[in-house]
Symmetry: C2
Subunit: 343 residues, 2 copies
């Protein structure tokens, strides 16, 4: 199955030039007298053979790079700030700490699936990759060609080829919604970033519906507020909620960063939390304790998620585990001050 | 000036064994019949020559790794979570975005100065390093040996060997304090993480004293609350402030993450912000807008700091700039809802 890697020698043969010439062209070295015609011939050969220069070039003494790639999705709305959602910072800190203890370093990329991350992985000689979030299926298919150990985090990738680690998002959505129902709420807004197939949000929405069904409450599409998973959209949704004609008394926001925005948006429109509207979040990042009122939320153990992601990838690299691992970490609800009992 | 790098050949000669043997020992390969005696001889030779295996081993086709190291200090109180202060996440996101646009990747380390980061830098063949915060002088001295382009961020390193980028922290401290004084406050708590020599906090404290002096207010050591730059210490300081006998009507906290903790600690002890105590923060991270009341704070342009740090390091790597750069970015005050005018 493993294809032979195209080498610089193959390219030299194809272009009919020396290896040194290829090297000069690749490095764009100035002062070397190489004709444009030769440069073009080399570039064509590179393209034809799909040659990937092995920049990281593992040394003679080790075939390992001891480098783990971490792919974190770009924020949906902005391109620059992948860490605005503290979930990623907490996760990454934990991965870094675990990896460092075991002599590995992290290569961080806020990448998009179409940016040929696979080429990066090969150029860098990554020993393993931790991928957070969901990507197009074609990306996962290409990743299989890599022969690099991979852990998917919070992905509901359907073909189960890679290690995976996640939480029971559906159960988390169920717990949040059930908690609100038991406190007497029946009109519960569902506020979320994009609901993509096989993503955490679509599963949290399923859990929301499970709870409604269990208590005989009709699902109402008008109660869905779907945008981006960030503070700004939370404010917008909070403002819309404050002016809603649907009679919501509560909201389940699928991320704490969203929930704090919702609280802000509600307050800016003259509503109090939890007196007028109750809010439940998801994640239990440190924001949940910082915000006022402090946030009732679905807790997931982010640090443990990061630690286990690093551990699985390192154990796979070191051949300590051969079989595929699928880990689901537990969730529970943490009661703080953002929900009012209206029974 | 450049010392010749010790090679695997030198080690083999010193130990009187083959290069392959050195390689086996370095890789801890099992199944190879190498005697303990030989292993010990190799290890002694490695130690004696101070040999650093070149794991990243730049390939034949490029002397560049296109890899930039980013060193972020560990949180003062905890070891695991370097990103709890959103300042680091915002900074890093911006560095990553700029670097990625230019074809570089980031190697992230939550390192300590005593962890031989320099060895990591050499092993990895880093093209450049961005170092955030302050470290012992000996660390900076060793870094000079590296011959790797380095940018120091928010360091007041005294010997001006490296590129540097920062803000005028003293002026920021002055602006925060002056703002409170002009709103009628005279007993102003100074709440901060550790005040280390040549650090940002010591400079913000100087600015605090400048403002007091300008308005003829005596400096009072009892108004200093010094701990760690994190949310937890903020809560503690807020609680102490609420029960203080010193008559403070305001506080200047040297980081937003601290300020939101202070607000929490004050509220938990029955005081309102800004009605009872006014609070000014520093940084203008997104928390400043999230917290309730939203925070009046000293704004620094964190994204621009990250962008310029990446730009300087890449321009140096690419020989576009040769002379040393020292950049000071401006600060100003952003008025929100956490300060009361008591004139």
């Amino acid at each position: 199955m493993k294809k032979k890697r195209v080498s610089i020698k193959d390219v030299a043969r194809e272009a009919g030039v020396s290896i040194a010439t290829i090297s000069y062209v690749l490095n764009n070295k100035k002062g070397e007298s190489i004709s444009d015609e030769t440069i073009n011939r080399v570039r064509e050969a590179i393209k034809k053979l799909n040659y990937v220069p092995n920049l990281s070039a593992r040394s003679l003494v080790s075939k390992r790079s001891n480098l783990i790639g971490v792919v974190i999705p770009q924020a949906e709305a902005g391109k620059e700030f992948m860490f605005y959602n503290p979930f990623y910072g907490e996760f990454l800190s934990s991965v870094e700490y675990e990896a460092r203890k075991k002599g590995f370093h992290l290569l961080i990329s806020g990448t998009e699936a179409d940016q040929k991350y696979i080429q990066v992985a090969q150029n860098r000689g990554l020993d393993g990759i931790i991928i957070v979030g969901i990507y197009p299926d074609s990306f996962f298919q290409e990743l299989k060609q890599c022969q690099i150990p991979i852990v998917l985090v919070d992905s509901y990738c359907s073909d189960h080829y890679f290690h995976s680690i996640g939480i029971n998002d559906r159960h988390g959505g169920y717990l949040a919604t059930k908690h609100l129902i038991e406190k007497g709420h029946r009109k519960i807004a569902f506020i979320s970033g994009m609901v993509k197939e096989n993503g955490v949000n679509s599963n949290r929405l399923l859990g929301y519906k499970d709870a409604l069904e269990e208590y005989g409450i009709d699902f109402d599409e008008k109660l869905l507020y779907l945008g981006d998973t960030n503070f700004e959209y939370g404010i917008k949704a909070g403002a819309r909620l404050a002016n809603s004609k649907n009679g919501e008394t509560a909201a389940f926001a699928t991320a704490d960063i969203l929930a704090v925005g919702v609280i802000k948006g509600l307050k800016e429109n003259g509503l109090r939390v939890p007196e007028d509207i109750s809010v439940v979040g998801f994640d239990d990042v440190y924001l949940a304790r910082i915000t006022d009122p402090s946030l009732t939320t679905v807790r997931q153990n982010i640090a443990e998620k990061g630690r286990q992601a690093a551990e699985i990838i390192i154990q796979t690299i070191e051949n300590e585990i051969k079989e595929k691992r699928d880990i689901i970490l537990p969730v529970d609800i943490v009661e703080r001050d953002s929900v009012k009992d209206i029974n």
